[in-house]
């Protein structure tokens, strides 16, 4: 029996933990700094959702492309975008990832396969179909991951992309990060089919639901899905269920939420878990 009882080696466990910790600290710092009024535009925080992006991105290489959302900081960090450049970008500085022209909702680094956060809801899905088609055409084994929220899941662009990915058997993973709210509208009200797995099945795409706050659940499911896509098995759908702990944007009064619904857990996904003892942290 291997000395490592976990699905990834110790160095990679440490890498995943570091990514999640970095995302949490980055977002908590932004939460404080935004309140001071020096950051232009809006920021949408990913704190508490770290396990989803990290569990998926641990399976990816630079050649694999992702298309992110308006809540993209965590995806950027997990995909390897340099955090100093990200923070500078959010402040609109010329030293930023995109020379300060994009801001929080348009951070991109093509060298890392990060095609961009995106202020247009559901706009990442068609982009990633294009990237996946390019990978398939070149035969480089690359995959494309498009993230979107429960609100954007209702956009025609997402549904059209699912159809296209199924018809062309593209190596695309559709990831809905279902955090319960589209801005202030509850997912219970706004998603007609009620089940994302049902919706994917309508396109002949297999779907899986996991606890998006459990790193190992996301890592294991994403690993199977990404391997399948890389080897020609076609698109798949992954629902990561989670809670949006901060407001839709910084400054959101969140009067639409129940008391206690959004208390950010102090522990990161690894903390209190056996793997943390294994890592000696």
């Amino acid at each position: 029996m291997s000395n490592n009882p976990f699905p990834l080696p110790k160095e990679q466990l440490l890498e995943a933990y570091t990514k999640m910790k970095t995302i949490r600290e980055f977002e908590e710092r932004l939460h404080v700094e935004f309140a001071k009024g020096d950051i232009p535009g809006f920021v949408h925080l990913y704190a508490g959702e770290e396990a989803s992006g990290t569990g998926i991105m641990m399976h990816l290489e630079d050649k694999d492309r992702i298309a992110s959302t308006h809540r993209g900081h965590g995806h950027c960090i997990a995909k390897g975008v340099e955090v100093e450049g990200m923070m500078a970008e959010i402040y609109g500085k010329v030293t930023g990832s995109c020379r300060g022209k994009g801001g929080s909702m348009h951070i991109a680094d093509l060298s890392k396969g990060m095609m961009g956060a995106n202020g247009i809801l559901g706009a990442g899905a068609p982009l990633i179909c294009g990237a996946a088609l390019a990978s398939k055409y070149r035969g480089d084994g690359g995959v494309g991951i498009t993230f979107f929220g429960d609100g954007a899941s209702n956009q025609g662009t997402v549904l059209e992309s699912m159809n296209l990915a199924a018809v062309w058997n593209l190596p695309v993973i559709f990831v809905v990060e279902n955090n319960g709210y589209a801005e202030s509208t509850s997912v219970d009200y706004a998603v007609a089919v009620d089940s994302y797995i049902d919706r994917a099945a309508g396109f002949g795409i297999p779907g899986v639901t996991v606890d998006g706050t459990d790193f190992f659940a996301v890592y294991e499911a994403a690993g199977e899905i990404i391997k399948r896509a890389r080897e020609g098995g076609g698109p798949a759908f992954l629902e990561c269920k989670m809670v949006r702990f901060f407001g839709h944007f910084e400054g959101d009064a969140q009067t639409y939420r129940a008391k206690g619904e959004n208390e950010l857990p102090q522990n990161l996904p690894f903390e209190g878990h056996e793997s943390r003892r294994y890592l000696g942290r």
């Binding site: 089919v193 009620d194 089940s195 797995i197 049902d198 499911a221 199977e224 399948r228």
Partner: protein
């Protein structure tokens, strides 16, 4: 007063990784709602007028409400009245546990369960002596028998109305009790599998190289899942007093290898070691240093060298509705005759 029948319908069963690693089916929410509507019609046809349901917010309730509105518009009096358990909805197994406890408290005669082995296990953990009737809507469905839900509804209706003697209508079932020292206490109704993974992760088990031990309450070569391994070695019926223990080894190290449908659409080599009978009431100490225990097909409990793990087979631990016996009795006694 008309008896009360409970319905627990898990809206999120059949959504795990086996849709990707195999071609396991997806049962859409509308289909789940239609199954319940068929059951409700059957219950009403037998005279059941009140049903207590688990609340959920994944769409089943909405579809059923629309069907009731349509029936009212068409002046069709074919459904019983539905009441919902008053509880917060978490969309986790807690909903099933709480609703079942409430149904027991409310005095339900029978609880109908829609789900796979995992959902049935959750209901059994709370239902006490109330008989359950299973309808298969999950992924690994060794426990609920496969039949048209209308027939299950009729059998439950006849039993709940007291038209069939209890000795015919209901039967006892075995259960596996799992104890990890003082820190964990759980049950399984079909199988307990020990795997080498030390994390719960995506829950499903589908990697034979990691399988190490298997305990089953019954084994049937016609079912899918881990109990199929035992079923292809030595069938044990639900009515037999014993269970089965099977030592599993990595296939490439095994003296005996068996080709088994251990998940829907996955037929693969399983390495087999010793096979022994498991007698009721005799705790078996787990002889494996560290891993995870999968209960009815899903990883639930991690353990290591410091843990004392025992597994005990319990006879007559809970009751189920014997649909076949009830419908045969109904035929012989003419219970469905209208004049």
């Amino acid at each position: 007063m008309s008896p009360l029948v409970g319905i627990v319908a898990n809206p999120v069963s059949a959504s795990d990784i086996r849709r990707v690693v195999a071609n396991a089916s997806t049962l859409q929410v509308t289909d789940r709602a239609n199954i319940i509507l068929r059951v409700l019609s059957a219950l009403r046809a037998c005279g059941v007028e009140n049903v207590l349901m688990m609340p959920e917010k994944s769409g089943i309730r909405r579809h059923i409400t629309r069907a009731y509105e349509r029936a009212a518009n068409l002046k069709e009096d074919i459904f019983p009245q539905i009441h919902h358990v008053r509880q917060d909805i978490t969309t986790t197994v807690q909903d099933t546990l709480k609703a079942t406890a409430a149904m027991k408290e409310a005095g339900c005669k029978v609880i109908i369960v829609l789900g796979g082995d995992g959902t049935h296990r959750a209901v059994v953990s709370q239902c006490g002596d109330i008989p359950i009737a299973g309808i298969s809507t999950g992924t690994n469905n060794a426990f609920p028998e496969h039949r048209e839900p209308t027939i299950t509804g009729l059998a439950v209706g006849l039993a709940a109305m007291g038209r069939v003697p209890e000795s015919i209508a209901f039967e006892g079932n075995k259960r596996l009790d799992i104890k990890i020292g003082d820190r964990a206490d759980d049950i399984a109704i079909v199988d307990v599998a020990v795997v080498t993974e030390r994390f719960v992760g995506a829950k499903a088990i589908w990697k034979p190289e990691n399988f190490r031990e298997l305990f089953v309450t019954f084994s049937d070569p016609e079912v899918i899942g881990m109990s199929a391994i035992a079923g292809l070695l030595e069938p044990v019926s639900r009515r037999d007093s014993h269970g089965l223990m099977v030592q599993l080894t990595p296939p490439h190290e095994a003296k005996m290898r068996l080709n088994v449908p251990f998940a829907p659409g996955i037929i693969g080599a399983i390495g087999i070691g010793d096979v022994k009978h498991m007698m009721p009431g005799v705790p078996v100490k787990l002889d494996f240093p560290a891993g995870t225990i999968a209960l009815d097909g899903e990883r639930e409990l991690a353990f290591d060298q410091t843990d004392d793990v025992t597994i005990t087979l319990v006879k007559d631990a809970f009751r189920t509705v014997n649909v076949s016996a009830i419908m045969n009795y109904a035929s012989k006694q003419g219970l469905m005759k209208l004049n």
